[in-house]
Symmetry: C2
Subunit: 456 residues, 2 copies
């Protein structure tokens, strides 16, 4: 029989959905300065909601960037304390013309809700909030001590929360963290994420001539920053996708044979994944590794954009004075961002062609993470998910990076339970992002049951 809190959640589902939609309508795009006010609006809405459902000390915590949202309820003497984390900021919605419904007008279609931030991460933050409301409303109390800490800079490096966690660990004292920002391995398959890749996000800035030059007059004598960048990038990875930065793989720890065996029994078909999720002619990457190994347990390198020069329609025969590449690398245990960036920077300088000045900048970074599956909170989460979804929980890793997981470990000594309800085809960071309505509903129930189990 479902707990009283789960019954409450079921009765209030329609209202919960409306509240998620209201949050999704706020275009809290953290990377764009013109949306600074929207970020604050989303933060304030969440602080108000936390207060309304019965959480205490609900407030905004100012940072150099977008504010944090904090609230707590600390009346469960002798019980553990959980730090509930999520983020209210979203990625830019461009390219806009590929959205079937407007990114900030949440729209229900085919059992999903479509909006920027639906799965990443506002829908999941709402599920956390609804679980807390259900427990407080049904039981008049929470089964354990709860701190909520939400940030608005996850998509831009999370400097604010990182600084706060590092400087005020006493105010966040917790036994473990609950992070809802990952995905289930497949629809209906309860999933705990126990490993994350780390990352470094960089910019390579290349300068050639003093000013833009005419490619007729100077072509053949003046350095071309885009050609230089192409030469650099082509030397970063070989044809097979193996990264060529010296000693880059030295600290990589391979997954255990047991972990690899468990991955190979997951419901995953590479050809199906290529067709349904990626949609490219072929998949790429290091030969000899499965897709799951390549995206979970091997480092990767991607180029995100190359600003500079002429990008309009038609032709401009310019040799630009300057061009840039935005390049990021995903890291795996036991690589560290500091060492990886130093290796990258020195290698880029080494392979840069003659005639240009090259500057390499670190924009942000995040640590890798790996939690043992026998951790008691992972075990509690396993029981809760198994009950709500009626299936055995699978343990996966994610290729993504959640830098805050490393900060919670380092500064609070708190391991993270990453219980996510996104799905692989949710199109996060892309047009037509969605969140499954069923996952929203069962996600709330899973969170309620997890908090109840974690208190035992």
């Amino acid at each position: 029989m479902a707990s009283a809190a789960v019954e409450y959640a079921r009765r209030n589902h329609a209202r919960f959905l409306d509240e998620m939609k209201a949050l999704l309508r706020i275009p809290s795009i953290s990377t764009l300065p013109e949306h600074q006010g929207d970020c604050r609006k989303a933060a304030q809405r969440l602080a108000d909601a936390l207060k309304r459902v019965g959480m205490e000390n609900a407030r905004l915590i100012e940072t150099e960037g977008h504010p944090l949202v904090y609230a707590d309820w600390l009346h469960a003497a002798g019980k553990p304390t959980v730090l509930v984390y999520g983020h209210y900021d979203v990625q830019p919605p461009d390219p806009l013309d590929e959205w079937l419904s407007p990114p900030f007008e949440p729209t229900e279609r085919d059992g999903n809700i479509y909006a920027r931030g639906a799965a990443d991460d506002k829908g999941q933050v709402c599920a956390q909030l609804c679980a807390l409301e259900s427990l407080l409303a049904a039981d008049g109390r929470l089964p354990l001590n709860v701190r909520v800490l939400l940030e608005g800079e996850e998509e831009v490096g999370g400097e604010g929360i990182a600084g706060y966690v590092a400087s005020k660990p006493g105010e966040l004292k917790s036994d473990f963290a609950l992070i809802c920002d990952t995905e289930m391995f497949a629809p209906g398959l309860p999933t705990l994420c126990v490993g994350l890749r780390g990352m470094i996000y960089t910019e390579i800035d290349v300068r050639g001539a003093r000013t833009d030059l005419h490619s007729g007059m100077y072509g053949g004598a003046a350095p071309n920053p885009f050609v230089a960048l192409a030469q650099i990038i082509a030397r970063l990875k070989d044809e097979d996708g193996r990264i060529l930065i010296r000693h880059f793989y030295d600290d990589v720890v391979a997954p255990s044979p047991e972990e690899l065996a468990a991955w190979s029994s997951l419901p995953f078909n590479e050809e199906e994944y290529r067709k349904a999720e990626v949609g490219s002619r072929e998949l790429v990457g290091e030969p000899g590794y499965s897709v799951l190994e390549r995206t979970w347990a091997r480092p990767s390198l991607d180029v995100h954009g190359m600003p500079g020069g002429f990008t309009g329609a038609g032709a401009k025969t310019v040799i630009p004075a300057r061009a840039q590449a935005k390049v990021s690398m995903r890291l795996v245990p036991n690589m560290t961002p500091a060492k990886a960036f130093a290796q990258f920077k020195s290698y880029v300088q080494e392979v840069a062609p003659a005639g240009v000045d090259v500057e390499v900048r670190l924009i942000h970074s995040g640590d890798t993470c790996l939690t043992p599956v026998d951790n008691p909170y992972i075990q509690a989460a396993t029981r809760a998910l198994g009950e709500v979804w009626g299936k055995e929980t699978v343990f996966i890793r994610s290729g993504g990076s959640i830098p805050i997981v490393g900060d919670f470990a380092r500064h609070l000594g708190a391991p993270s339970v990453m219980m996510g309800f996104g799905l692989p085809d949710d199109q996060i960071h892309a047009p037509n992002e969605k969140f499954s309505l069923q996952n929203f509903k069962l996600g709330i129930e899973s969170l309620i049951r997890f908090l109840e189990e974690a208190a035992r």
Copy 2:
């Protein structure tokens, strides 16, 4: 003693300058659709001016794009006919923040006039117009038959004029063309350009995944279009700047030993050029060739921009579904655009990495050109320039492309006299484009004397 027309030009110089400024104020940027009206405005202003100075049949000729400007004066029986060519369109002014004075507010500083289009090509078109006015006003007639044909699409491929010249050669019947769209080799050094590089301007379009993907989730498995483009571009040129497209150099004709000897006696210092004009750490290009050979007599390849992905400030961890490179190649005698594009396209497809779809498009092209120095009109120009500038005329080539020169040769059988008054540091196509006021003045006088000499 100066001719009556030259005396007239000297008396009217201040007004001539005002007329040039009025033309420079019109932002006739041919590549930007929002400036379509400005292009027409510039064309109409020139047609009106031609009529005012006494040219006949002055009118706009409509094309699919921006209009041509035509006028003639055909009353010099028994004398040759010259086709006077220039263009009234200009390049976009970006990056705007690097201009010291607004690009469309012509400003005099240090003996120059600064504005987009000052040297390329409105200032030179005005010099042509002022020469015609001076001859007609001082002598009541022109010494030879003159047709004027100005275009507004030189910076975007010149399709309109190419189509018109090809379809109506009878209406443009001329013995030679006078093109003022090149530069003098050095200040005060009278120069005739007798060779031009041709060009092909292309776009390489690369598609990987069906939609934009998250680089954490998919990095290591999904193809990255920018990495693919970098690999393609890195294979187009080697470290030394030698183009690697198969058979690309097969048709290249080396300059004669006499031409090379003349070039080596020009006042040109590669280190000075690097510092004063290019301003880069080093010059680049094929070893074993001088800078003049590399930019005048060797093909080159440049990348102008790489649209796609995330180019804003900060970080977006996207693997873009699509990215593009704008790539052009300069061609030399006896290469042809059609063959060069076929070689380029097939090579790009051949070296494209796995996992992506690659499309290669030709945006526009122009033929190479080389005129013998013993041509009688080149000889007349040599005499006129020597007299006005008091120095022996030098014969150079230009690395740039003026596709219309090939069209005049092919359809009208008319060789071109390329008598330009720009200077190497005029910053055409870049911020702070300028035109020397002295060159404007002596340019008008040179044109008057040339038309007088060509009539003999």
